[in-house]
Symmetry: C2
Subunit: 496 residues, 2 copies
């Protein structure tokens, strides 16, 4: 076979894999937003059929032959990513026995319901057997896919954060704990109480605000749409990057900041070079990079004093009087710090402490250092240590997140990595766009988005994730920028 034919076969093959993965994403989007109640049974068969079709393609025995016929030196950077990813995906697909893949799919599909019922009943013991089965299966999977010398946890992490290892990630993340706990303590002891939005904020007004804010931040409506779902998420890529939000009538900040968060994810997808579409290089670089975009939009931009200058009159326009005196009060309200139990409701000061706790526990679960039956006790001990509050209800503790029930191990740390990268990228963006505050104060995010487009979005996964960020900032990612930003911001807000 000629090398050029082999490469064109490989590209055609990957277009199909990618297109089917997008179909799989659309099925989930539809399920969460549009599907009628009785459609669930057929939907699970439809999803399974698409996954089978993807698996058949990924394990196509011609892939190693194509790869062998290609001379990597003749390929451009996108071509190199295609070759590398096809080989990697084929290796993973063929190393995991079909029976194991089916068992994982079956058990995680069931576990989600078992977890939800255990959380409602507030009994970890009801979920523990399922969790034990999932941990065992994911360990078995990790054993299949791990490269020589790679730990089980790192093998799982690879799917979300390509090229990352615990050896690098662990000090980066846990190194933040001292400054984070110190900051949380200083805020708690400041005696300062931030204002809070109170009242009822009608659904239509919240959605109108969400649409205005999304458009102002650069979300391209010709390449997306906004719908409602129980849990906000973003879905799709390129010309079709959709977002969802939710409405709680007593809390307009929930809808607002969920929307901004998803806009950050979606702007990333909308900004990837269209020439890379349907190729491996046209995919997001890593989950950490993805999360850096959503968190940068949500926090560094969306919760900034400058943006509140623009936001306050917008909120008055859609809601009328919101019971706050002006942009300063709004800035304080959207940055209100409270030591809660729930990660997804956490402020910026506490958020990463929640993640560190999960990261350490799940590493121990996968390595075997922590037994499943001991995880509730370990959770509660760690929470008391970091948050100084006892967990009395497992629904507020070990049962609060869906992730483990659907088999996600190695995913949690990408949330904190995303925050670290957001801190890094925002510092560089701020230096590159000196007019940033003035821009945001009048609702103009175009220079900020332009910088992110050029330095992050457009590259897709052409570069390894940490290289991508290092190229944008001038140095390897570290947590200092995030911690500096947090300490400065909350010192100002809480008079520290």
């Amino acid at each position: 076979m000629r090398a050029s034919d082999a490469f064109s076969e490989l590209c055609g093959h990957f277009r199909q894999v990618t297109a089917l993965s997008q179909v799989s994403g659309l099925l989930s989007w539809d399920q969460e937003t549009m599907m009628p109640e009785r459609g669930a049974e057929l939907r699970s068969e439809q999803c399974a059929a698409v996954e089978s079709a993807i698996h058949r393609l990924r394990s196509d025995p011609r892939i190693p032959d194509w790869a062998a016929a290609i001379d990597p030196k003749t390929l451009d950077p996108a071509g190199c990513v295609t070759l590398r990813e096809a080989v990697r995906a084929h290796r993973r697909a063929t190393r995991i026995p079909a029976a194991l893949a089916e068992e994982i799919a079956r058990v995680t599909a069931l576990s989600q319901g078992i977890w939800a019922r255990a959380r409602a009943a507030r009994r970890f013991a009801d979920f523990a057997p399922s969790l034990g089965r999932i941990v065992a299966l994911r360990r078995e999977e990790a054993d299949c896919i791990a490269e020589p010398g790679q730990s089980r946890y790192d093998a799982l992490l690879e799917d979300y954060e390509p090229g990352m290892t615990t050896a690098v990630l662990s000090p980066l993340l846990t190194g933040m704990r001292p400054r984070l706990t110190a900051l949380a303590e200083r805020v708690a002891q400041s005696g300062h109480v931030a204002p809070r939005l109170e009242g009822r904020f009608p659904k239509e007004a919240q959605m109108e605000l969400a649409r205005r804010v999304a458009g102002t931040l650069g979300y391209d409506w010709s390449a997306g749409r906004l719908d409602l779902s129980v849990h906000p998420f973003s879905s799709g890529t390129g010309g079709d990057a959709r977002i969802t939000t939710r409405v709680v009538e007593s809390d307009p900040l929930n809808c607002l900041y969920s929307t901004i968060h998803e806009v950050g994810h979606a702007c990333y997808e909308q900004g990837i070079d269209p020439a890379l579409a349907l190729s491996p290089a046209g995919r997001w670089a890593s989950m950490g990079v993805h999360e850096s975009q959503s968190r940068l939009f949500e926090n560094q931009i969306g919760r900034s004093r400058a943006f509140c200058e623009w936001l306050f009159p917008q909120m008055r326009a859609v809601f009328g009087d919101i019971g706050l005196t002006g942009p300063d009060a709004l800035h304080a309200a959207v940055n209100r710090v409270e030591t809660g139990f729930i990660r997804t409701e956490s402020d910026e000061v506490h958020y990463n402490l929640h993640i560190l706790l999960r990261f350490e526990l799940e590493q121990a679960l996968i390595s075997g250092a922590l037994a499943v039956e001991d995880v509730e006790e370990a959770w509660n001990a760690a929470f008391l240590r970091d948050f100084h509050r006892p967990v009395t209800d497992p629904a507020d503790g070990v049962l609060q997140d869906v992730h483990w029930s659907v088999g996600l191990f190695g995913y949690f740390p990408t949330y904190s990595l995303g925050n670290i990268l957001a801190g890094e990228l925002f510092a560089a963006l701020r230096a590159a766009v000196p007019t940033l505050d003035a821009d945001l104060a009048r609702g103009d995010a175009s220079a900020a988005l332009g910088w992110l487009r050029r330095n992050v979005h457009v590259h897709g996964s052409l570069k390894p994730p940490m290289t991508l960020v290092a190229d944008a900032t001038g140095h390897a990612p570290r947590s200092g920028a995030l911690l500096d930003y947090l300490e400065t911001k909350f010192a100002g807000l809480y008079g520290l």
Copy 2:
């Protein structure tokens, strides 16, 4: 291989084919209702990838081995349909060369745009080369799939109307022409002018009416939803059978009867025995049977005097005064006869004359008796003969329908067959439910739907389509019931 293993492989295989076909339908639904404008490019790749996956499954070389290992005598009726359909689909998939299938997909994808532009420019010559290519490709395809002795047209018809032949269909359809043209003439000469709805009818009120009517006719909202699209359609099956409608503010009957039509299709899908889901027997019996359900709902029920008794106050409730004196005037307005050029806007008297014209022309195109460059002239001559009006604009004539541009040949006659079957089934339903008029007058369609469920819907494609209808009515389908119904109805309305 044990016969039971072979059969279970075959069933598992078909579940995947069916689930992927449903995914393909959902991609189209999403494209017409939800997809952002810039999503089109990726969507075509997604559709192509799903079609490829379906084709790979259908042409799986293990299918003939499985089939050979199964003893049909051991199968229940649904199992027999599975065996028959798997073999038939495999034969068709493997007989059509991949290059031909791709060329058909490519040409028809392009032709739709060329047709739309030619229609806008009102020049058949702009579309003729594409049409020529499509006809040639479909003839080539027919040559691949035709069984010994089967004509090309019959080979194409088989996809929409399994088991039907032109030898049976042609006299059934064209035999209606004398009574239809005579009825149209008598109505035209009656001098009677039916009232017409005039004014502006707000979108939200039209949608509210559509929802009320759909629910009243038995549409299960827990297994479907109603959205807007440019052309109304129904999509999906079982627990997820969705419908769309459109709103023209000056013409509330457009939205209303489009909705009722699609409700007829969707109630059929919702009524198929769930035990047959994802198996070949769980599919609709034929396009003619499908259309019989939509037309029976739309016309025999929706345009009946009895239903207008219930409908009139409903319309008053959502629109206020509609400028008509009562149910009699509404009944006359919704059955207004006008000799128009456009099939989709046609009344019941003229509708089948439109179809007969297309049916005869497309048979001649596929057989080669009519050259593509002569089809406009042939259309205009036939229209003048049947409708006594000259076509002066090809957008009102040969360019009006999308079907041929997307390669649909053998599809048009199923519309008229559907009307004939609706006539047959309604006569039997009326005999079986003596309270029908009283029921409909108070907005109760449950007895009618129940009869259709038991006699048509639940059976899926367990029986050949004409047997299904014959079992429901007691005799082989013929056009008399439809023609009697039309003559009686319009004699009453137009004082003939």
